[in-house]
């Protein structure tokens, strides 16, 4: 039976190899800073219901551009298959979605040797839901062409699991070198906010938009849209400039949310002008709870568990057991190395 399985998986791995050729265009190393670019796989274990599958797709989009957007997975693929492919492709992180009776579960793992953070998804909203809730959803074409920024807030506590979470999420996106980065490439931001009281992590994904400050809304729109303004109700052309606009003029740009640009960002946002930073959510939205940290990749020593200490508590769901089998043999022997690796990553 096992042999049968293997032969089948080989058949499947083929398309991934093709994908690898495609992705080889993407550099493994940032050519300016020389840092290693983290890459990720987002996949699922076990059968997911429709909304969760959508969430998986949203997460893939969020992880763009250094992820496999069209990663194909089969039921018979075990974690080892992904691991085997991850090595040559330079994939450094796995985001694994699975489902239990109680709630969906997101696991964030570093390859090839862990650690693995297990989050329980208390609530989630898809990007579609969020777009539907908005009056004017915004999606510029090159929104997903650059990696997002990441903002972690509230993780200041000295707990080790929080520090580990911080490190994990910091390293999941490419580093930004403030000397060379182009501000126009900063289009998205991922926010992780830890709430001390509830111990929940709010996961949000926003698009960044800059608007010139000190210009009336009308003129801004005129410059942005290139449309002939409606002058019917005005006495004179000068009214168009001097008369205050309506409505949203009141949402005064707070001083805190303005930046002064040094270089031209776009046609409207020129150098040495003040621009307001506006964020609009693009989703997905998740409320996570850190439940477990394992030393290895979905296995190994349990370093932290929300439900009591030690690994006595096994999560419901049969796929957990399967994966344990999958990677037990690979991870048992280098558990000691894991510890060192982790310490290294924390120092970084």
């Amino acid at each position: 039976m096992a042999r049968f399985h293997n032969s089948k998986t080989k058949v499947f791995v083929k398309p991934i190899v093709k994908k690898q050729q495609q992705q080889q265009q993407q550099p493994n190393v940032d050519h300016i800073t020389g840092n290693k670019i983290p890459k990720s796989f987002v996949f699922s274990r076990g059968k997911l219901p429709g909304p969760l599958r959508q969430l998986q797709m949203d997460l893939r989009k969020l992880m763009l551009p250094y992820t496999a957007l069209k990663l194909k997975e089969k039921k018979r693929n075990n974690l080892k298959d992904f691991l085997n492919v991850a090595g040559p492709m330079g994939v450094t992180h796995f985001l694994i979605l699975s489902k239990t009776e109680t709630s969906p579960v997101l696991r964030v793992a570093k390859t090839p040797q862990g650690p693995t953070l297990t989050f329980k998804i208390h609530e989630y909203s898809l990007a579609v839901d969020i777009a539907q809730s908005q009056l004017r959803p915004r999606c510029p074409q090159d929104l997903f062409k650059n990696p997002p920024l990441i903002v972690l807030s509230g993780f200041a506590a000295a707990d080790e699991q929080l520090r580990l979470t911080t490190m994990m999420f910091k390293n999941i996106f490419p580093d930004i070198d403030i000397n060379t980065v182009k501000l126009s490439s900063c289009q998205r931001i991922v926010l992780l906010n830890y709430n001390k009281d509830t111990k929940l992590i709010d996961f949000r994904h926003y698009s960044i938009r800059l608007q010139p400050v000190g210009v009336s809304r009308r003129i801004r729109k005129f410059v942005q849209n290139h449309q002939v303004p409606d002058l019917r109700n005005l006495q004179d052309v000068s009214d168009f400039i001097t008369k205050a606009g309506y409505g949203s003029e009141s949402e005064a740009d707070e001083e805190a949310a303005t930046v002064t640009l040094t270089s031209d960002l776009s046609r409207v946002n020129r150098a040495s002008t003040k621009s307001a930073v506006k964020l609009q959510e693009i989703g997905p939205r998740m409320t996570l709870q850190l439940t477990k940290i394992e030393g290895g990749l979905c296995s190994g020593e349990v370093m932290f568990s929300e439900y009591g200490n030690g690994g006595n508590k096994k999560k419901p769901g049969n796929e957990e057991g399967n994966e344990k089998e999958d990677c037990e043999d690979s991870d048992d022997d280098d558990e000691a190395d894991n510890e060192e690796d982790m310490e290294e990553s924390e120092e970084d």
């Binding site: 009776e101 898809l126 839901d129 539907q132 000397n179 900063c186 926010l191 949000r204 040094t262």
Partner: protein, 302 residues
């Protein structure tokens, strides 16, 4: 007319053979019979019979035809039930002589027996019989059962859907206080980063002259230097020429003089082009004209 009718039914072996005068109803019957007894061979006896009939038909006219036909067939008939009122039946019976075809009377009796049997049969009340109106309760029961089944199924489906949707929350249309708070945090982060980037890149710019605007201006200025020099050179040549003229040493033919090989250094550079000749004068004149039109005292300009 007869022949025509026959021709319409080409391929009907019996009729061609018999060349009868055939009325439509008879025709029908024959067709039917033919379909029924295709497998049967036409026996010699039959053939004789048909020939005989054909002869009779040909000799007689239409009215007599049927009666004679009946008479002729009279001996072959076995117990006409008397119930067959139509004359078409004779055609059928004449063929029913063939072996293997049930006689009409037998068929009637068998049918009667079968029908009686069905009528006599006593159907039990409890099972769904042929008469549905008698089983209202049963039908209702069945329907109710189905309904319940569907309900259970629907509930199971709903439950499954609920499990699938677990944790899935549709966001509100407005920004809640928590969302605003989160956006505030994110904005703060972005502003911090942008400011840091700007600070870093500004410092970089200050060090690197090629990037600043002044540098650009300088480069542009550098590009204009050759032209400035050229115009300066031309002006110099002009002055020298004037001086030469003034001193009276004007040469009879300037072309004999040694002229520079490079065109821009020649006196008449660009002046050979008629368009460019007097370019400054025409422009001035135009301005003067405008000025003159606008205000009367244009003399000061000239």
């Amino acid at each position: 007319m007869v022949m025509e009718e026959g021709s319409t039914a080409v391929g009907k072996r019996k009729r061609n053979m018999g060349k009868k005068k055939v009325k439509k109803p008879k025709n029908k019957k024959l067709k039917m019979l033919e379909g029924k007894g295709k497998k049967l061979r036409v026996s010699k006896k039959m053939r004789n019979l048909f020939e005989k009939r054909a002869r009779q038909y040909n000799s007689d006219d239409d009215e007599e035809e049927r009666e004679e036909g009946e008479e002729a067939l009279g001996d072959t008939r076995i117990g006409r039930g008397g119930d067959n009122s139509s004359e078409e039946s004779d055609g059928s019976e004449e063929v029913e002589i063939q072996p293997g075809v049930m006689k009409f009377t037998d068929g009637v009796r068998a049918f009667r027996l079968a029908f009686k049997n069905i009528i006599k049969r006593n159907v039990a009340d409890d099972s769904l019989g042929p008469v549905l109106s008698g089983h209202k309760q049963l039908v209702a029961k069945k329907l109710a059962e189905e309904e319940a089944e569907r309900k259970v199924k629907g509930e199971a489906k709903k439950e499954k859907h609920l499990v699938a949707e677990k944790g899935h929350v549709k966001p509100a249309n407005y920004l809640g206080s928590h969302e605003k708070f989160l956006i505030g945090i994110a904005t703060k982060g972005v502003v911090k980063l942008f400011n840091a980037v700007n600070k870093a890149q500004k410092a970089e710019k200050g060090l690197d002259p090629s990037r600043s605007k002044d540098a650009k201006g300088f480069i542009a200025f550098c590009y204009t230097i050759p032209f400035i020099l050229l115009s300066f050179w031309q002006a110099l040549l002009e002055i020298v020429g004037d001086l030469l003229k003034l001193s009276g040493n004007t040469s009879s033919d300037p072309r004999n003089e040694e002229e520079p090989a490079w065109a821009p250094l020649r006196d008449n550079y660009m002046l050979t082009n008629p368009k460019l000749k007097n370019w400054d004068k025409t422009a001035e004149a135009g301005i003067a004209d405008d000025a003159g039109r606008m205000s009367g005292d244009s003399g000061s300009d000239d």
